[in-house]
């Protein structure tokens, strides 16, 4: 997959020296990274490196001990998850957070409705005609792009893990978020599903001008779709660079990739 003329890179998400502590344990230590809009930025590292914690700090589910979080240039460090989401930040979860008592359509639509409801009690209660049309349109588009039309009326609990991951992605797409944090979206997907998944991600960035920060263990996917990578280990940033640079870095190899993944060559799917 080649990068067609990239849309102008605006600020997107930027972390400046964030530190997250759990009691005495420092889970993330002074991490700075930038995940601009119009690019897929990868965040990789071994289990326990602090990737999900970083995500939680980005989306406001976890407060930071120090450092700042910027979203499109605005300091959102003090904001909760909902206001950040209203500013265009969306995320998926490693342990999926789906609405299990609803069907696929309900799940995906709820993403948009939650965004529209926001802070306004009246909009929690009622849905105007205009919003309904808007939701339906986005819903249709999200279902089409994630290829979920055949299961639109199925309860999400009855789907395979791969489809469930897609439902979560469709939900965050439908909500209209411009900056997406995807936490291990391909775990539980088979290789053809992963490939399709990669294509959806590229199209999100190239066609919609979204920005993606991706946590992922599937190196084939990471090396193929990401434009830039950050490598975490024990809460520290140990390397950053393009996939090719990361692939060749002895530091990363020692800490994470090992020799097993050495055969994965960036840019070759």
């Amino acid at each position: 997959m080649t990068t067609v003329e990239a849309p102008p890179i605006t600020d997107g998400l930027r972390l400046e020296g964030i530190t997250v502590r759990f009691g005495g344990h420092v889970a993330v230590d002074g991490l700075s990274l930038s995940a601009p809009v119009g690019r897929i930025t990868g965040l990789i590292g071994p289990n326990g490196a602090g990737k999900t914690t970083t995500f939680n700090a980005c989306s406001g589910l976890q407060s930071v001990a120090s450092g700042r979080v910027y979203l499109d240039g605005e300091d959102v460090t003090g904001l909760g998850p909902a206001p950040r989401a209203r500013r265009g930040l969306g995320r998926t979860f490693q342990r999926m957070e789906l609405f299990d008592s609803m069907i696929v359509v309900g799940n995906v639509g709820a993403g948009r409705e939650a965004r529209l409801a926001g802070l306004n009690p009246l909009r929690h209660l009622w849905c105007s005609k205009k919003e309904e049309v808007d939701t339906r349109q986005r819903l249709k588009e999200a279902l089409d792009r994630c290829d979920l039309n055949d299961v639109a009326g199925t309860m999400v609990g009855d789907l395979s893990t791969g489809r469930r991951r897609l439902v979560e992605l469709a939900r965050v797409m439908c909500s209209g978020a411009r900056m997406l944090l995807l936490d291990e979206p391909s775990s539980g997907l088979d290789s053809s599903e992963t490939k399709r998944f990669g294509a959806i991600l590229r199209s999100l960035v190239e066609d919609d001008g979204a920005g993606i920060l991706l946590v992922e263990h599937d190196m084939t996917l990471v090396m193929n779709v990401c434009d830039y990578l950050y490598v975490l280990d024990f809460g520290h940033l140990i390397f950053e660079g393009t996939p090719a640079e990361v692939h060749d870095s002895p530091v990363v190899r020692a800490a994470y990739l090992g020799e097993l993944d050495a055969d994965v060559v960036p840019g070759e799917a």
Binding site: S59, G60, L61, G80, P81, A82, P83, A85, R86, L89, G90, R91, F93, E97, L98, F99, D100, S101, M102, G106, N107, G109, A110, G111, E113, A114, R115, A117, G118, L119, N120, P121, R123, H124, L125, W126, C127, R171, V172, S175, A177
Partner: protein
């Protein structure tokens, strides 16, 4: 300072009893994972047993004490262990309703057997006093304090230093691991429930001389224990005991300084206040987390066509009721008056995955507001709507714990809040006042004569239908979808930009408002409304009845109202005596039976094998092969047979 000391003495001795009750509760909660609302009912059972043995049969008190504590402890423990072992894997709200059912059952039994009057419970511990720093301290008080402290310390050491204690603590974390290590969790749990029930019985017996023999009062002892538990963060035994002392002393001191009516009401409700405040202040993560969310998957609606046909038929039938039934019409009216309350409870439980154990308090506030507004000359319908609106802010207050807490802690917070209102606000002038009752008018508008039973029935039916349509609108609109989603994953909603707290406050406001309308209707029907109709026991009963009636937000509400008020009207005389007992039993069956069916006993198979180690080891040859032979070979063996 000197005049404070007597209150301190009283406070410490009653506080020690609260501490004992609290320890029993924490012990069973931590080991079995089921919060026993019936703990106070077990205490009441202990007190009645003791009373029977000692006063009626003339046994010497030490013998009666040991026999009733051990008897209630063992029998109650075995029974509760049997009931709850099926509940360990159940949803929190099912566990809650099951123990509430047990509470109602035991309380109903005591009411039926001994009647509702408070009897004098003669003091049995020596009342001779010593003077200590100028204060009179009874020997009995010293005995209670020492006994309770000894038991608390003993239990603490038992849990820390003995193997059984270690297993008991282990059961909390992982039942299957404990059984893998060779200890049957069932046996340990039974022991824990026996200890808990024994402690409950003991605390009931010790507190009875100061409370009198009153099953309702004794049952509410559990809430004093809640206060103690809250201070112990629902996990630490020593802190719970200390919490009991704090609750006791604080109650005694408010009695001393409580000169105004409100403060007097505050005295007995100090534990609830402590519970409520503790649940509000303590960081949610510090509370022992054994909570699951309440989420019950609702069966929302039937397909369109049968739904419309059914709804139409139901409305027609309901409208014809006044011309079909005769003297029992008042029961039908009363049932319809309860429909909004049940609907509102259903919205909370089935849709928002939340819970409220203070719905009777919402209804009470609605009733008094209605009385005030119509007294002030407002038209009947406006007063009704006003009553609903006035209760909404109270709903918002209750939503505050709902924002922070889930599961059993939310249930406790709302229950504590309901009791607080009942003790402090009900007697206040703005509500029922010192007479304990208020006048409320029947409707007269649009040519409807509300004094006529039929006319009034139709008005109530109309209100019920309107509130039903309101709930239908809620379900169908955005809020319905958001509430469903909220029950599943609040995290996902907030990361999509929704302020979930707004939704929670909203749903509690709407729910409280509808309960308030029910209260107003009840008031209008009776003409004179008293606080005794809206006790915290009502709240418990309402929830139990609703859960028994299934999980359709609308149909279940009507069914529950009928169960609560219409069915008893057709029952033979004297049914009232068993009513509470039957509701309790029904709630127990409705919650426990499905779990038995599902065979959802945690670690059941491991446990049974462990109970007879010989059989497991020698085992059947089949058992031996299962362990050793790989799956493929097993399949071959299966085909061969």
């Amino acid at each position: 300072m000197k005049d404070l000391l007597p209150f301190l003495v009283v406070g410490l001795s009653t506080g020690a009893i609260y501490g004992l009750a609290g320890i029993g509760l924490v012990l069973t909660y931590r080991t079995a994972g089921v919060f026993n609302f019936a703990h106070g009912a077990v205490a009441a059972l202990g007190a009645y047993t003791f009373f029977e043995l000692r006063t009626t049969h003339g046994w010497p008190w030490p013998v009666a004490l040991v026999v009733s504590v051990v008897g209630v402890g063992v029998l109650g423990g075995v029974a509760i262990a049997w009931l709850t072992r099926y509940l360990a894997g159940a949803r929190t709200e099912m566990q809650l309703v099951a123990t509430v059912g047990l509470l109602l059952f035991v309380q109903g039994f005591l009411l039926w057997k001994f009647g509702g009057t408070t009897r004098i419970f003669p003091a049995f511990l020596p009342t001779k006093a010593v003077h200590f720093a100028g204060v009179e301290v009874q020997y009995g008080q010293i005995m209670i304090f020492v006994l309770a402290a000894g038991l608390a310390a003993g239990l603490y050491v038992f849990l820390r230093a003995t193997t059984v204690g270690a297993v008991m603590r282990g059961v909390v974390d992982d039942r299957s691991l404990v059984s893998l290590a060779g200890y049957g969790p069932d046996r340990v749990l039974r022991l824990s429930w026996m200890l808990g029930s024994g402690l409950a019985a003991l605390s009931g017996i010790l507190i009875a001389p100061s409370l009198g023999l009153d099953s309702a009062l004794l049952t509410l002892l559990v809430v004093q224990a809640f206060g103690a538990c809250a201070i112990g963060l629902f996990s630490s035994l020593p802190l719970t005991y200390a919490g009991g002392l704090v609750v006791g002393v604080a109650s005694a001191l408010t009695t001393k300084y409580g000169t105004t009516r409100v403060l007097q009401g505050l005295g007995p409700s100090v534990p609830f206040l402590i519970l409520f405040v503790a649940l509000l202040v303590v960081p949610a993560r510090r509370l022992a987390t054994q909570t699951r969310t309440f989420k019950v998957k609702p069966k929302l609606m039937l397909p369109k066509r049968p739904r419309r046909a059914l709804a139409g038929t139901a409305v027609v039938l309901l409208a014809l009721v006044p011309w079909i039934v005769d003297v029992r019409l008042t029961s039908y009216t009363a049932a319809l008056a309860m429909v909004p309350a049940f609907l509102s409870l259903g919205v909370l439980v089935y849709m928002a995955g939340s819970i409220s154990l203070c719905h009777a308090a919402f209804a009470a506030l609605g009733a008094t507001t209605f009385a005030h507004l119509s007294h002030a000359g407002l038209p009947w319908l406006l007063a009704l709507v006003g009553a609903g609106l006035a209760v909404m802010p109270l709903g918002a207050v209750v939503a505050i714990p709902a924002i922070r807490l889930q599961g059993i802690y939310l249930a406790l917070a709302t229950f504590g809040f309901g009791i607080l209102l009942e003790k402090v606000l009900y007697p206040a002038g703005v509500m029922f006042g010192s007479i304990g009752a208020r006048q409320a008018p029947r409707p007269h508008f649009w040519g409807i004569n509300g004094s006529d039973e039929r006319g009034f029935y139709l008005v109530v039916l109309l209100v019920a239908i309107v509130t039903t349509l309101l709930v239908v609108a809620l379900i169908r609109n955005r809020i319905g979808r958001l509430l469903l989603a909220l029950g599943d994953s609040p995290t996902a909603l907030s990361t999509h930009g929704m302020s979930v707290n707004v939704t929670r406050v909203l749903v509690f406001c709407v729910s409280a408002g509808m309960a308030g309308i029910s209260g107003a209707l009840i008031a209008a029907q009776a003409g004179r409304v008293a606080g005794t109709g809206f006790t915290s026991f009502q709240s418990l009963t309402w929830l139990a009845v609703l859960v028994v009636c299934g999980r359709r937000p609308i149909f279940s509400a009507y069914l529950a109202a009928a169960m609560l008020l219409v069915v008893p009207a057709y029952a033979p005389d004297g049914f009232v005596n068993y009513q509470t007992m039957l509701f309790g039993a029904a709630a127990l069956l409705a919650t426990v039976l499905p779990e038995v069916d599902l065979g959802r006993r945690v670690g059941a198979s491991d446990d049974r094998r462990l109970r007879s180690p010989v059989r497991a080891r020698a085992g059947s040859p089949r058992a031996a092969t299962t362990a050793a032979v790989p799956a493929g070979a097993l399949a071959a063996v299966g085909e061969g047979r």
